[in-house]
Symmetry: C2
Subunit: 369 residues, 2 copies
């Protein structure tokens, strides 16, 4: 704690008119009603003049409850300001009505990449419709075990996993737990034990490369994503397959980390390796931003000297100069699909089924090729 910070609850240090002044803390202590003993179902029932069982039924959908009882309970609920205790409820229903979105990434990246935002929104949309609460589980490598413990304790009814890496054995762990789950992006291992959605990254990247080839480019490099993600590996494979088939160089690869900075560094490396590069297939639009920046700093015009294709098409691609040709993956649809697959498992109350759904990528041509 900075030394100038007064002890909480006594003084406030305020910077006013160029100097520090101490201001006595303003405390307005409300009539200390404590943590306000919440009303229980019992009290509701009593007030409504019915039994606990009837009150419970009335509150949960009102099956086999008379109109009069229904309204009496509703009235009692309102006057008491009652809301059911979720712990008690899930103790008996064995459902928590919440679902985790597991993101095994250091949090910086999560928030800089539009990929996550889109996923999150789509998932949230599906869940909200079912009145399920989404719990975001950001697990940096160091507290992976904490996360696994949380999942194992069944705080949640199921999990959606995105951006999963090679060394987190999440798919196996979740399968072993028998916890309903769905992956966005093919897992490295255990892919036959869990449900997942993916796009055909290899085909997308191959299409990107073939586009450059058809435009007459002959020295085509690849800015790849992190080695430990399947999407990155597949995209690299797609590029390689296309350049090999065309009889072009297949050694011009540099790895980035799906960030702008990563794209910059990879491009510098590639340029140092080979000056004749006239095309670049980049594994994400965010990296492509860095790629273009470095190319222009190096005096190469895009697309005249070097044509660039990105991947994702989540908004950045069309905002930069020049607007980026890219491969679109339907993230929203994918995430929605994953959410629905999860709900299916939860509803059937059984171990995950290894369903997989693969979405098609689309080439989106703009000005960078």
């Amino acid at each position: 704690m900075p030394t100038w910070l007064a002890p909480v609850g006594c003084w406030t240090c305020r910077w006013t008119r160029g100097r520090w002044v101490n201001v006595p803390r303003v405390t307005h202590q409300p009539p200390d009603q404590g943590p306000g003993q919440a009303p229980t179902l019992d009290e509701v029932a009593r007030l409504a003049g019915v039994s606990r069982a009837t009150a419970s039924r009335a509150i949960n959908g009102g099956n086999r409850v008379s109109q009069s009882a229904q309204t009496a309970v509703a009235e009692a609920v309102r006057t008491l300001g009652y809301s059911p205790n979720p712990a008690a409820r899930s103790l008996v229903t064995r459902r928590t009505d919440s679902v985790a979105l597991v993101v095994p990434e250091p949090d910086e990246r999560v928030f800089s990449d539009p990929f996550f935002v889109h996923t999150l929104r789509a998932v949230n949309r599906v869940l909200a419709a079912r009145d399920l609460q989404l719990v975001l589980l950001l697990a940096r490598p160091e507290d992976e075990s904490r996360m696994l413990r949380y999942l194992g304790e069944r705080h949640i009814d199921g999990a959606i996993v995105v951006s999963h890496h090679q060394n987190d054995r999440l798919a196996e762990h979740l399968a072993a737990l028998g916890l309903p789950c769905a992956f966005v992006g093919r897992p490295w291992t255990g892919e036959d034990r869990v449900a997942y959605v993916d796009t055909d990254n290899e085909a997308g990247s191959r299409a990107a490369t073939e586009l450059l080839i058809s435009r007459g480019r002959r020295v085509i490099g690849h800015v790849a994503g992190p080695d430990d993600m399947t999407a990155a590996a597949d995209r690299r494979a797609g590029w390689r397959s296309a350049v090999t088939t065309a009889g072009l160089r297949d050694d011009l690869v540099a790895c980035g980390d799906f960030t702008e900075i990563g794209g910059e560094e990879a491009t510098r490396a590639l340029l140092a390796q080979c000056e004749e590069i006239d095309g670049l297939v980049v594994a994400s639009d965010l990296m492509a931003v860095g790629v273009v920046r470095v190319l222009e700093a190096a005096g190469r015009r895009v697309p005249d000297d070097v044509a660039v294709v990105g991947y994702d098409d989540l908004g950045v691609a069309e905002r930069i100069t020049p607007p980026l040709t890219t491969i679109r993956q339907p993230i929203g649809d994918m995430a929605e699909q994953a959410a629905r697959m999860l709900l299916d498992q939860i509803d059937e109350r059984r171990a995950p089924r290894a369903v997989r759904v693969v979405f098609p990528p689309t080439v989106v041509e703009r000005a960078s090729t």
Copy 2:
């Protein structure tokens, strides 16, 4: 669902070598152990040859438990793969060991603004140390009631609220619920009923403006944040106070929404209103990025023709060209402090106390002034 998408669980549609092929779904159904009846404390106790009470004590810190019982229980826990049922536990302890981070914002903004990332990380750091789980509650205006319900049901032990707006009466609601909470940023109303941390936004903005004045700028505009946030209002007040004191124009204000686009639009408006502007005080660095972009597009050099000061200093400011002079607020410290204030309340198990802590802003000079 797109028409090309095969029914889940039957076929997978895969784009291979330029055309669509249907691939039969690969299903590996693990021996259906159902949702794997989790072991209970009872079974642990039986296996360890002790009573449930002793097992419970052994698991929760091991007070008043013999060494032998302790190890026997530990052993049983391990072989059974036991983990306590959180619902049952919190039913009796009346604690859920999780805390909400409430963000009443449409989710796009949350993820594009580094402010949130920094807050999130700081809060997470404090909570993880205490083994509390953070639940991110993103509440767009339309499902605010859903969020309030969630809070009212006591799924969580307390809440940290950031980026709170004028019309969500969160402070009152939380105070009324008697739910422990801490705000990051002064709430509009109910500020005498809840604990909060803030920076002295008015002083910071005044300092920014005075810096421009001391550099000889005489026509100083302000790109303000959304009207319904206290930080924006305070920063606007700081600018106004400084320009008025100096006898300068105080009508050159345009509102943005704390995004780059918002900054662009506001700048265009200001430029249209007055061509002689030679200084701009901008309420956030993110907006300042847009401001600089529009200024340069309009042929004004920064800082030669127009000097610009931002606000936040969370990384963007130093990365753009020219590096931005800005006002730094210690977000990390603020969020940490808020988290600690919340933990204090939770530990004392009583209604929130209206403690407030105000942090100082700092002028950081770079190349834009």
